[in-house]
Subunit: 365 residues, 2 copies
């Protein structure tokens, strides 16, 4: 793990106050944290230094005097996933810049865990909550309505729930996917695989079946699939159900499905991968088939990372504004907590295609 | 983000209860979550199915009847870092398997944020807390002692604080680093760079200066450095301060420092990278110098990932038991919460060297 603190812009730290006051960090921490013994003289020096540097008193001290908890809650599907971890980082940064602490709960895409998490947050008296919900229909949102009924404002993040008339902060998944696939088409590709598609036990026979399955899956996944179809439609490339991966969304399955698509008589010449492990699974399939990119197969993936940039050749990736997504959700929520009217608006943040070297013409072109 | 739920072993989901009862997921969620309207007949069916499958009533429902909060808190340095995100995932899995919810707070390696987070958790009446502390000396742990004084048990994770007589769950950083460097030495290397070292403004003139700086840095970083020195000592390779990166721990700085080590008259032939971005920074420096691995420089890194396995050639990496680290910390804490005596023990989990193809003999050997 990293030792370097990730500093929020302009945030004065306890170490800086200690240095300014000419005292040890422990003395500054005791004074500002309000625990333990500090001599009146040192205490005075620390407080003067804190005031001079604009040190923010911690949220708890304030909540004691105001009766407001100055805490918000975030409920995410899987805190172990770097996407959500980054999103939570954005929430924390934006909320502490406004003097709020953030409590995080993870649900593992399980609706009953989400219900329990909502109840925990109500119980812990948060001032508001941000939810990346596992609910896929308006009939699964009773717990969200319950929170609202109890006066706890809710902002949705990453996933819109059209049936709920709530503020939501999302990424332009559909446009981002369309742009990526358009770039593959512009390079001359017409056989473009999509990894990964909706969870289905059987491959879809028709486009209608595929979209029906997508509607039972997560909103983000469906949006990315629709973007893929948009680009094919615009280029009048007929949809081929054989080029969409279905099944469990795990790396091994992506490898199997890409191997299958590479073995088709009219094989894929390009791949659009909607997740990190869809991409790493695809790369394993290419290597097993002794194919290289972009010579044999062009590649574009979702979710840029330090690794994608050092692959050889470097990968063209969609960069999601993960931190910004969390920060924006916190800002929308805190505006409501601090008196603004709930906007019932969907705020869409733009992702960005980072063009590197994994797209070329189809082989033989 | 992923659509596939990460299932805890044996955990019965609301969907399974719904299927067993022959009702919709929303009906099951309403019944089990205790909100909204459900007809008595359907309610009865859901409860029967829940009992049959061994569905666990959510923690909040239980806390209402027992007066215990059934919530634990985790304080980590940076939730946006995949290491801590994975660790938190382990805490959540282990604690919910025992009927506890987990609340997470992130401190960004800032001691005053950590003090505030501790206060928030006390305020929210958690039953115990797990802390990856930014404190580097026994004089900075007043807030931890305060929590203990208020009867809230604390378990340290990832970072031991020798001055505190507390249970701690850590990884064998020193042994893991020694094993990695020994492997490089066994392949014939004697000029082995260490990226990244402690935060220092000036390169250390001596080994003593370096170790003194390490003692002011995080425990984990110091342990990895000591493992590197152990391996050199055992092989009677003299320590060369020019081969240790100092300065800010960011990817760009790793690239600069590796470029410097590659330009030395007696240049490095191998690198041990202690973080993901130390490795990606090193890879950028190799590429800029038109060198390849393992032909020109051998590489071993810390923190395995799906990407490291699909690099070409695949990278030899140390895999930390990240999930297990969090899970073990939760187990130790919950044992104490549920009546076991605090063991005041350091539990050390073993990491694993995943041997792939980034180590070879030095050039010309």
């Amino acid at each position: 793990m990293p030792a370097e603190p990730s500093q929020a812009a302009g945030r004065v730290t306890i170490s800086e106050v200690a240095a300014e006051a000419g005292v040890g960090r422990a003395t500054a921490a005791r004074t500002l944290g309000g625990y333990g013994h500090v001599s009146p003289e040192l205490r005075q020096r620390v407080l003067a230094a804190a005031e001079k540097l604009g040190y923010r008193a911690n949220a708890l001290a304030r909540s004691m005097s105001t009766g407001v908890s100055h805490t918000i809650g975030v409920i995410v599907a899987d805190i172990g996933n770097p996407f959500f971890a980054g999103l939570v980082g954005g929430v924390c940064d934006a909320s502490r810049a406004r003097g709020f602490d953030t409590i995080v709960l993870s649900t593992y895409e399980d609706l009953d865990e989400e219900v329990a998490a909502t109840n925990v947050l109500i119980d812990k008296r948060v001032d508001g909550m941000i939810i990346a919900s596992a609910a896929v229909s308006g009939r699964e949102v009773g717990h969200v309505k319950e929170a609202l009924k109890r006066g706890v404002p809710v902002v949705l993040v990453d996933r819109a729930i059209p049936a709920l008339d709530l503020d939501a902060v999302v990424i332009d998944n559909r446009d981002a996917a369309r742009e990526a696939v358009e770039r593959l088409i512009a390079a001359g590709h017409r056989r473009i695989g999509f990894v990964w598609g909706p969870s289905m036990t059987q491959p879809p026979a028709t486009r209608r079946e595929l979209l029906a399955a997508a509607a039972r899956n997560l909103w983000t996944d469906g949006e990315r699939l629709r973007g893929y179809l948009d680009a094919l439609d615009d280029a009048r490339i007929p949809f081929d159900p054989e080029l969409v991966m279905v099944g469990r969304k795990v790396e091994e399955r992506a490898t199997e499905e890409v191997a299958r698509m590479l073995a088709l008589p009219n094989r894929i010449t390009a791949l659009f991968c909607t997740e990190t492990e869809a991409m790493t699974g695809a790369l394993r399939a290419l290597r097993a088939a002794r194919l290289s990119y972009p010579r044999d197969v062009s590649l574009i993936g979702f979710d840029d990372s330090a690794w994608a940039a050092v692959m050889d050749p470097p990968l063209t990736m969609i960069e999601q504004p993960v931190h910004g997504l969390g920060a924006k959700a916190a800002e929308v929520l805190l505006d409501i907590v601090q008196g603004a009217e709930a906007g019932r608006e969907t705020h869409t943040l733009r992702s960005r295609l980072i063009v590197r070297s994994s797209v070329g013409p189809p082989p033989g072109a």
